[in-house]
Amino acid sequence: MNHMWNDSSTPDTTVGTVYDAQRVRADFPIFSRTVRGKPLVYLDSAASTQKPQAMIDATSRFYAEDYSNVHRGVHFLSQRATDLYEDARSEVRRFLNAERDEEIVFVRGATEAINLVAQTYGRSQLGAGDEVIISAIEHHANIVPWQMICQEMGATLRVIPINDHGELQLDAFEDMLNERTKIVAVVHVSNALGTVNPVREIIATAHRHGVPVLVDGAQSVQHLPVDVRDLDCDFFTFSGHKIYGPTGIGVLYGKKALLDAMPPYQGGGDMILSVSFERTVYNETPFKFEAGTPDIAGVIGLAAALRYFRSFDIAAIAAHEQLLLSSATARLQEIDALRVIGTAKEKASVISFTLCAVHPHDIGTILDQHGIAVRAGHHCAQPVMRHFGIPATARASFGMYNTMEDVDALVHGIHSVLEVFT
């Protein structure tokens, strides 16, 4: 499955530069279909990515050949399913370069991961007058869980401001940190603007004040190499479906000492060592956070997706996507009526834009008639929209399978939108 540079059949002297997105597309069966009679131009990977055959096969193979519940039986299949499930945990650990498997908790997605931290870490650490810091470009998933727990505990939510490029104002951040700050939770890559936040710097700054940091990596792991030990983040979250894996599965990484000290999240089977009506002894990390039968097939599918993804050089995928991003940005900016929202120096794979006098919803409908899938709306980031004084944007986002032809189609599509509206 190594379609990457250094393919043994083609002696390649430009090692590290050849990334063949056309060949990658062949691994994604969805691209053999048409949409409204046109080839599919999928520019909505930030909402969710398409699926490689390897992931689809791993999931159906598990159901067809290896299926059973996990952690519960002495019988052959239960052992087999448990092995696959725990191997998947190791796969995620390698992917994030975490130190130990126990630091990987399976959850439904980034949303549940953040809720878990807010409800366990937050509930046990926050008191009246304490503070939680997030940023002005968070997804609602990294706003509302903190708002809820702050309200409950009498704590205050503070927000790192942004400039008009959509970049965080780090001086303001440093000033916000104080002895009442209990946690900082920031997005790695903004889904609405594409901004790549300097999380390493944010983490170092927070740690100087003794404050732990949660990084919402829902939009970063599929676009940049991530190493949680190198970042030194305390928590890291991502969703399987945005990195070519199944829906309904995601990951919370947490440093073991923090996870160990946290109370459990939900109660039920698997998260206990012993139960009586008088007293229950909780299971160890990570099992104490995984109550009930987990999404076993989802976990196995996620591991298959990560193996597929890791069969490439992630830096080469990133470079390819940067090429698409810069080309699309340059060409879209040639269109007078078009305004790119989010012009940070460091961006990944997302272009949000508005067209003078054409609402994003109308852009989306017309592009759809050309078989082009983009997202139109507030992207679950209403505070971001408010900052830029707009109700919504149209957003094109790239994945490992997009090509320059997709960029061409987008540019032509925008011109045809303008034709309808002039």
Binding site: A357, H359, V420
Partner: protein, 150 residues
Amino acid sequence: MDEIRDLYQQVILDHNKNPHNFHKMDDADSALEGFNPLCGDHYTFYVKFDGETIADVSFEGSGCAISKASASIMSTALKGRTRAEAERLFELFTSIVTGKIDVVEHVAELGKLAAFAGVAEFPVRVKCATLPWHTLHGALQGGATRVSTE
């Protein structure tokens, strides 16, 4: 691309560009907010009654071409109508944009509202076309002052 032309008919584009009755009304009998949380369409509608008759309708806010043109054409269509007539138009309009009845049989009655028949081919856009009507309907029934499509 014929469906696109059917959806974005010239009347709709014109009303989107230059909406009628697009202003605040200070002496309105009722002011209602309508919004679609999914795409951020957000309008306020103002109505003034003269007994059973709708004396004046206006609106302000922002949204897509379909919702804005719908609000504009609705405002012109409802002025001077009785509550009962407005109710009838509401039923007719929602049936047309959801494709429940055929527009050709009601062209005379619908007037410019017939331009929205193309919406039926775009199920995700039906809410855009009906948002103004659902909001106004609330006013006619003296109900909620805030209407959301979700």
